[in-house]
Amino acid sequence: MTNGARTLYDKLWEAHLVATRDDGTSLLYIDRHLVHEVTSPQAFEGLRMAGRPLRRPEAILSVVDHNISTQNRTTEIAEETSRLQVAALVENVQAFGVPYIPLLDDRQGIVHVIGPEQGFTLPGATVVCGDSHTSTHGAFGALAFGIGTSEVEHVMATQTLPQRRSKNMRVRFEGTLPPGLGGKDLALRLIGQIGTAGGTGHVIEFAGSAVRDLSMEGRMTLCNMAIEAGARSGLVAPDEITFAYLAGRPMAPAGPLWDQAVASWKTLATDAGAAFDREVVIEVSDLAPQVTWGTSPEAVVAITGCVPDPALAASAAEREAMTLALAYMDLRPGTPMEEVTVDVVFIGSCTNGRIEDLREAAAVARGRKVAAGVRALVVPGSGLVKLQAEAEGLDRIFLEAGFEWRLPGCSMCLGMNDDRLEPGERSASTSNRNFEGRQGRGGRTHLVSPGMAAAAAVTGRFTDVRRLLEAQ
């Protein structure tokens, strides 16, 4: 920083600094706040108890996504606690005058899908949500991070958050991604290398030719998983791809204000010569599709690889962790990943529930059948994604292949609704976490891209999607 050159993160931070307090912490202004039913009830209750008003209700966009059925919206949610949590959000947004997208509205969807879709997420903004995958919105050059419920309440009351400045990290993906690979493979490849704590304390700016070539959907997938690398935020500098995505979105600026905004957004890039505390460069031209084998997103191998052997672990602690993970996953060291069979395929989530993801999966499913004994779900990330997919005929491709075509929501990513793995079931999932029990008690999750998930659905085992694409 001695040369005055600043990173994108430096610029976003400095533009939102309200005050530096005497204890050295900074008060950061929050432009946009996404709210869902799971992490907000105690925040609204906190405001009520303290008699505090909501400072800027119009800075919030709220929706229900975690608890809702993906099969039926016309009858009440069967499980009482889920029903009550959904009802509590509706009550709270009415009482506090918060903008809300109703459950039966076409715009309803996963909070991290609808924010960008509505143009609520904008470059240069600070975006928070009581959800760790808020990092998704960094794909627009917004400083976006997940917060806890006490912080949700804090933002509601003050429109600010006390923050500590993070370190700057840059990850450059250089080269050209081979056909059949996308943002998910980049994310998994990175986490496999730096680990789930590799980005702790840092904001990661994603750069390099392979990132510039990614669509907004691909960039969102990549930034979404920055949190799985331990970084609260991921960032991609906005460019023409970003502006083209946002133009005409309902909540994006229009007319002269749009031109003014774009001119400002074009300054949101890291200056030449700006210093990063850490830099990682990954060459991607030879990358193979990635798949996880264990119970942490860092347990990654290429689909061409095998289940790793704990005997080759670098330390005793790592050996023990690997052994535990393999026991939970019921996998034997040395098994080729392509020999591992699946019971369930889940295509959806805030990581991979967007239109491009569904196109990628449909391209593999087209003209094929879901393998016998495999249950395969496609859950669009929002009502608008669902309508777009249906306009393109993707729903028919999935249905004819034997996939279930569901209503939008978080669904089996974490199974807060009734979409869950049964004990012992193994999934190929386009979601973001393969923790023990994440998709259901005793469930075994393998994280993959939408194309790889569809490939697993039609073959019944993990399969290199490139082979299926070549065969078409």
Partner: protein
């Protein structure tokens, strides 16, 4: 918020890396509308079998550790989701201090909002604490952790320490900056009217 100064209590070792928030409090317990009552669900899936019976080998089910107030664990504790239900569950069980070599950021932040001290020590020190006889004493003002024959100093950012020792209301602190917030908003309306 209840201030945190010193704490003497039993330390339960759960010495594994990457204890994630799904493990601390699984999804089915996130449907609550209140902050309390989650203690009985803490670590549910490794604490109880599928029928809800206690698994006797799990550390917090063992008689010596049922009343633990300190948890000892491995690196990257609290990784995963932003759910504040994780610190709420720990607190409701009675744990007010987690000692681990490192913490995931959102979990770390959430602890301070709930009067829990996430305390970083090297793994070797944590191993020694796990093997020590008798209770562990955490002295936040002095920034030390001690047990029979052991004493370790730990680092903590002064502002973080102050929040816990004084039990500060962070929202009230930010509202005290209201003039600065209003000035920022006035300027922002000029500079970035689309926001």
């Amino acid at each position: 918020m209840k201030p945190f100064t010193t704490l003497t209590g039993t330390a339960a070792p759960l010495l594994r890396a990457n204890v994630d928030t799904d493990l601390i409090i699984p999804k089915q317990f996130l449907k609550t509308l209140v902050r309390t009552g989650l203690g009985r669900h803490l670590f549910s899936e490794i604490r109880y079998d599928a029928e809800g019976r206690e698994l006797p080998e799990f550390i917090l089910n063992q008689p010596a550790f049922r009343g633990a107030e300190v948890l000892l664990s491995g690196p990257n504790f609290g990784c995963g989701s932003s759910r504040e239900h994780a610190p709420w569950a720990l607190l409701d069980f009675g744990i007010r201090c987690v000692i681990a070599p490192s913490f995931a950021e959102i979990f770390f932040n959430n602890c301070f909002a709930n009067g829990i001290l996430p305390l970083a020590l090297p793994m070797a020190a944590i191993q020694q604490l796990a093997e020590a006889k008798g209770p562990v004493t955490v002295d936040l003002p002095e920034q030390t952790v001690s047990a029979a024959g052991l004493c370790f100093r730990f680092e903590l950012e002064p502002a973080r320490k102050n929040t816990l020792v004084q039990g500060l209301d962070e929202i009230a602190r930010s509202l005290a900056c209201l003039p600065a917030i209003e000035a920022y908003e006035a300027n922002r309306t000029q500079a970035t009217p689309w926001l």
